[in-house]
């Protein structure tokens, strides 16, 4: 598993011409584990959307190296999933095989074995035929991590993966993240719990619309940096002047 480096060159991401992430430059090294930290509205989810490619930059460039589409596995915030839909755990996890089988290919006996392994890997064996609507929040997150594992992607993006999840589940899922790192996959996670960040993510990007600090976690999360991040202006200003500082 060799993930190429991902480079941001003066990237601005946003909506309706207003930046949510302003002038970000830097590199995510192959096989690194990067935590993205910052206040609400700091542009953390927007950054992941830009990374995965569903949101085009307003300015600058994101260089994904030789990564093909589908080689970035992305776990959005739980809200995008319709939990009332009649689909069971096995089928939901099996969608992680999409890159291999596409819209028409069969899952096959090998694929089914892989799905069962992935489900076992997150401790959900026995839940295969349970509709997703009957799962607890933690169980659903385990299922979604099983799908991520099945995607077998060199780059894995997690958007607030541990929000409202109990400590046991967080520990199990962090073990899985550690295993992905052992397989030289790049992991980028939006997180709020600084203890988790310091414990499991060697590198941190502190974001408050613009990058406040980016580097080794202990450095990036120094108290004065955190204070600076808290001073972020939250509102879009419709009368703000047009920004000309892009390096063309």
């Amino acid at each position: 598993m060799s993930a190429p480096a991902i480079r941001f060159e003066d990237v601005t991401l946003g909506y309706d011409g207003h930046p949510a992430v302003h002038h970000l430059t830097g590199e995510i090294a192959p096989g690194s584990a990067l935590a993205v930290v910052g206040p609400n509205g700091a542009g953390k989810s927007t950054l992941l959307k830009g990374l995965v490619g569903t949101l085009k930059p307003l300015g600058g460039r994101i260089d994904r190296g030789a990564l093909k589409s589908g080689e970035i596995a992305y776990l959005p915030q739980a809200a995008s999933l319709d939990r009332s839909f009649p689909i069971d755990v096995f089928d939901l996890v099996a969608t992680g095989l999409w890159r291999k089988i596409g819209p028409f290919g069969g899952v096959g006996a090998k694929g089914r074995a892989k799905v069962r392994d992935a489900i076992a890997g997150v401790g959900l064996t026995g839940f295969e035929r349970r509709p997703i609507g009957t799962l607890s929040g933690g169980q659903l997150q385990r299922a979604l991590f099983a799908r991520l594992a099945l995607q077998d992607a060199p780059v894995i993006l997690l958007d607030e993966p541990f929000a409202a999840i109990d400590a046991d589940t967080v520990r199990d899922l962090l073990d899985l993240v550690a295993r992905w790192r052992g397989e030289s996959r790049t992991v980028v996670a939006v997180l709020h719990d600084l203890e988790t960040v310091r414990h499991a993510f060697p590198e941190t990007l502190l974001l408050a619309r613009r990058p406040i600090s980016w580097g080794p976690t202990a450095e990036a999360l120094r108290p004065e940096r955190l204070l600076e991040a808290r001073g972020m202006t939250e509102a879009f200003d419709d009368r703000a002047p047009v920004c000309h500082s892009h390096a063309a």
Partner: protein, 291 residues
Amino acid sequence: MSIYDALIGPFVEFDFMRRALIGSLALSLGAGPVGVFLMLRRMSLAGDAMAHAILPGAAAGFLVAGLSLPAMTLGGLVAGVSVALLAGLVTRTTALKEDAALAAFYLLSLALGVTMVSLRGSNVDLLHVLFGSVLALDDDALLLLAGVATVTLVTLALVYRPLVLECVDPGFLASVSRAGGPAHLIFLGLVVLNLVAGFQALGTLLAVGVMMLPAATAPFWTQRLAPMFGVAVAAGALASVAGLLGSYHAGVPTGPAIILAAGVVYLLSMAFGPAGGLVWRLVPARRHRAA
């Protein structure tokens, strides 16, 4: 009256009853699964909006060629697909949500259609377009209904995986594939196709009934996706037979009779269905499992 006279006789005796039976069964076969997807996408009322949108197209066909099946079908298809595409375009390019855009375009479309029909035809013609004529299906109409059912089932099978994923987790689908958008458009095309086929038999306003009522019935029988399609088709078929027989014996109009029968099936399922029917809530649970 013997059971034979009540249930089988009318179909043996009259050719038009047999044709009506075949036509409405074919319609149930295609429209049921489409309705299940509409319901799961929380677009139950979008089906209704599309049915209204088809009217001006059918009316244009009617103005040009009178009561001609090909002209009215083509007109309905063009109008339905245009409204679906326009609503999709507005949703993607402006801040307006898809339901609001659909409502706007179908109201425009409906007003246009009623105006066009009243310009030329009498009110009897308008009633014909609005409520269909399931007892007057000719060979062409039957072929259209059967063809639409075939195309619908084959196409649904082809776009099944992206369509299901687009319903359950659109964010994930967008991250692995661009198939979501095309699958959604193809699906809307199928909705229009089935409504156009349905208005041959039941009229524009009732066509949506044979699509949505069986779909709304299905979740009271099963919580699993694949069996839901079967239940919806079975409910539609049952309503077709019951509606035709009821209309034959009681002398009421056939189209509304079929929809009323589908409504009765829905209400009974809501009351007694094994998966969340209302009566099971009235019975207090005496026992529960230890784990």
